[in-house]
C-alpha cells in the first residue's frame, strides 16, 4: 500500500468526523435558557435518568432522595452532593475547593462544555451503588457527532483504500510481466 493511499484514508476519516459537528454547530440554536430540574435519587438510579440541555443553559438542580442516603457527583463540573431522605435541600460541595459540605436548596451552574457527563452516586447506598448513575447531555454533542462521523469515515476509507490498493496491485501485474 502506498503512502498516498494511507493519506487519502486518513483524510476521509477526518473529513467524515468533521462534517456532523460543523453541520450541528451551524444549525444549533438555543442556549442561555434557565432550566430547572428536580432529580430524585433512589436505589439504584436517578429520576430523570437523563437530562438534555443546550450549551450555555443555566441549570438549576434540586435533589432529593426517595429511600436512603445517596450522593450526586457530576463529572466535569466540580459538583458533589450528599442527599438525605426526609430532608428538604441537600449538602453540596465543590471537591476542588474543599471537603466541607454546605446546606443548599439548589445548585446553579452554567454548562459550558458539550458532550455527555455522568452524575453518579458518591455515597455507598447498597449493592449496585457503583453502577448508580445518570446522564447530563449537553448539546450539540460534538464528541459523539465527531465519533459517529469517524465511524462512517473508517468504514468507507478502510474499504476504499484496500479496494484501491488491490486494484493497483492488479493493474501493476501485466506491466511487471512486460518488463
Amino acid at each position: 500500500m502506498t503512502a498516498k493511499l494511507v493519506i487519502l484514508g486518513v483524510m476521509i476519516v477526518i473529513v467524515c468526523a468533521l462534517i456532523p459537528p460543523l453541520v450541528a454547530s451551524s444549525s444549533s440554536s438555543g442556549g442561555g435558557e434557565k432550566r430547572e430540574f428536580f432529580i430524585k435519587a433512589r436505589q439504584y438510579a436517578y429520576d430523570p435518568p437523563r437530562i438534555i440541555v443546550n450549551k450555555g443553559d443555566e441549570l438549576h438542580i434540586r435533589l432529593a432522595s426517595l429511600d436512603v442516603v445517596h450522593g450526586f457527583f457530576l463529572e466535569g463540573h466540580d459538583i458533589d452532593a450528599l442527599i438525605e431522605p426526609g430532608v428538604r435541600g441537600f449538602k453540596l460541595r465543590h471537591p476542588s475547593e474543599g471537603k466541607e459540605f454546605t446546606d443548599v436548596n439548589e445548585v446553579v451552574f452554567t454548562v459550558e462544555h458539550t458532550g455527555k457527563f455522568r452524575y453518579r452516586c458518591s455515597h455507598t447506598c447498597g449493592t449496585l451503588h457503583p453502577f448508580m448513575q445518570g446522564e447530563l447531555i449537553v448539546r450539540p454533542n460534538y464528541p459523539f457527532l465527531a465519533a459517529s462521523g469517524g465511524t462512517v469515515g473508517i468504514l468507507i476509507s478502510t474499504l476504499l483504500v484496500i479496494f484501491l490498493a488491490g486494484k493497483k496491485d492488479k493493474d501493476a501485474m501485466p506491466g511487471g510481466d512486460v518488463q
Binding site: 436512603v68 442516603v69 426526609g86 430532608v87 455507598t124 447506598c125
Partner: protein
C-alpha cells in the same frame, strides 16, 4: 529436586492454614486489642433490612437469611467503652442523645469508633437518625448502665414489622392507615396516634415556656379533629367525605361544615408539615438535638397519600359516641 518438592508442598499446606490464622491474629491483637487494658470493645452493625443495630456478626454468609436481633448493650458504672460502629448495607447514623454520643455518620464499609465512659446508671435509648429504609424508624435500642453489684433491667426491644395488609388504594381511610403503619409513623406517634413516645430534649415549638406541655415526648395527634375545629362527629365525617370526593374533581363546592375555611386552613397546615417536615425545638437550648424529627415526605408520598393520612388521622379522634363511628367504619 526432592527437597524442593517437599518445600513446595509444605508452603502450600502452611499458607492455607496461615491465612485465616494470620487474619484473625492481626485483627484481634492489633485492631481490637489496640485499646488500653480493661476497655470494653463492642461492635455494632447496622442492618437496614431488619432495622437494627446488632451485636451479631454480620457478613455475606448470614445477611441474606438471618433475622438480626436489636442490640441491648449492658454496661456497668465506670466501664470504659469503645463502640465500633459499622454499616453492612446503607448509610446509618448512630445517636444516643442522653449519653451525649453522636450523631455519628456511619458510611457502609467503614468503621467509626466512639469512646465513652459509662457514668450515671439508667436506661438510655439509642437511635439511627438517617433514614435507611422501611424499617428505619424501628432502628432503636437500649444502652443499660447499672450500678456496681446490681442486676440490670431488661427493656423490651423494638422489632420492625414488615408485613401489613395492603388495602385497595381507593379506600382512602384504610389506605391512610396502611401508609401510617408501613412508613413507621407509629414508632414515633404511637399506635393510633396516641403519641407519648419519649423524645429526649424535645419541646414543641413555641411551647417551650408552656408548663402544661409534657416535655420530652412526641405529641399525640389522635386529637387532630379537634384542632381542625371539627367539633361534631358528623362534621368530621362530612369533611373526610369531601376530601375523598375532592380527589376525582378538585373543583367541587365546599362541604357543609361550620367554619369550613378555617378547617381547610388547618388541614393545609397539617399537610404542609407532612410534606415539608419539621425540626423540633429543644427544651434545653444547650442540650442535644432531639433524635425524633418530623421528616419531609414530599418526594415519598403523593398528594393523595398525604390526604389519605390526614383522613385517617381525623378518624382517630375518640368521639363521645364511639359506637356510631365504628358502625360507619
Amino acid at each position: 529436586m526432592r527437597f524442593k518438592e517437599i518445600l513446595a508442598t509444605l508452603s502450600v499446606v502452611v499458607s492455607l492454614v496461615a491465612i485465616p490464622v494470620a487474619v484473625g491474629w492481626y485483627h484481634n491483637s492489633y485492631v481490637l486489642g489496640g485499646h488500653p487494658e480493661g476497655t470494653k470493645v463492642i461492635t455494632l452493625s447496622g442492618v437496614a433490612e431488619s432495622g437494627v443495630w446488632t451485636l451479631d456478626k454480620v457478613n455475606g454468609t448470614n445477611y441474606w437469611w438471618k433475622d438480626f436481633k436489636p442490640a441491648t448493650i449492658y454496661l456497668q458504672e465506670g466501664d470504659k467503652v469503645v463502640l465500633r460502629l459499622q454499616s453492612t448495607d446503607v448509610h446509618h447514623r448512630f445517636y444516643a442523645p442522653q449519653l451525649n454520643i453522636g450523631p455519628i455518620e456511619v458510611e457502609p464499609g467503614y468503621i467509626e469508633e466512639v469512646h465513652f465512659e459509662a457514668q450515671t446508671p439508667g436506661t438510655y435509648r439509642y437511635y439511627c437518625t438517617a433514614i435507611c429504609g422501611d424499617c428505619h424508624f424501628y432502628m432503636q435500642g437500649w444502652i443499660v448502665i447499672t450500678a456496681k453489684g446490681q442486676s440490670p433491667q431488661e427493656p423490651p426491644p423494638l422489632k420492625c414489622v414488615h408485613e401489613f395488609e395492603q388495602p385497595p388504594e381507593d379506600d382512602m381511610v384504610a389506605w391512610g392507615r396502611y401508609l401510617y403503619q408501613k412508613n413507621g409513623c407509629i414508632t414515633c406517634h404511637g399506635d393510633d396516634g396516641k403519641g407519648g413516645i419519649e423524645n429526649p430534649n424535645y419541646a414543641k415549638e413555641g411551647d417551650i415556656e408552656d408548663p402544661s406541655y409534657v416535655k420530652g415526648s412526641v405529641p399525640a395527634h389522635n386529637t387532630i379533629a379537634e384542632s381542625f375545629f371539627l367539633e361534631e362527629k358528623e362534621d368530621a365525617e362530612t369533611f373526610v367525605e369531601w376530601l375523598i370526593e375532592k380527589q376525582g374533581e378538585p373543583n367541587i363546592p365546599p362541604p357543609d361544615v361550620p367554619r369550613f375555611f378555617i378547617v381547610l386552613r388547618k388541614c393545609e397546615d397539617a399537610i404542609a408539615i407532612i410534606r415539608e417536615g419539621k425540626n423540633c425545638a429543644k427544651a434545653d437550648p444547650n442540650g442535644p438535638e432531639p433524635p425524633l424529627q418530623m421528616p419531609s415526605w414530599e418526594v415519598r408520598l403523593t398528594d393523595y397519600d398525604i390526604d389519605a393520612i390526614i383522613a385517617y388521622i381525623i378518624t382517630l379522634y375518640e368521639w363521645e359516641e364511639e359506637e356510631e363511628w365504628e358502625e360507619e367504619e
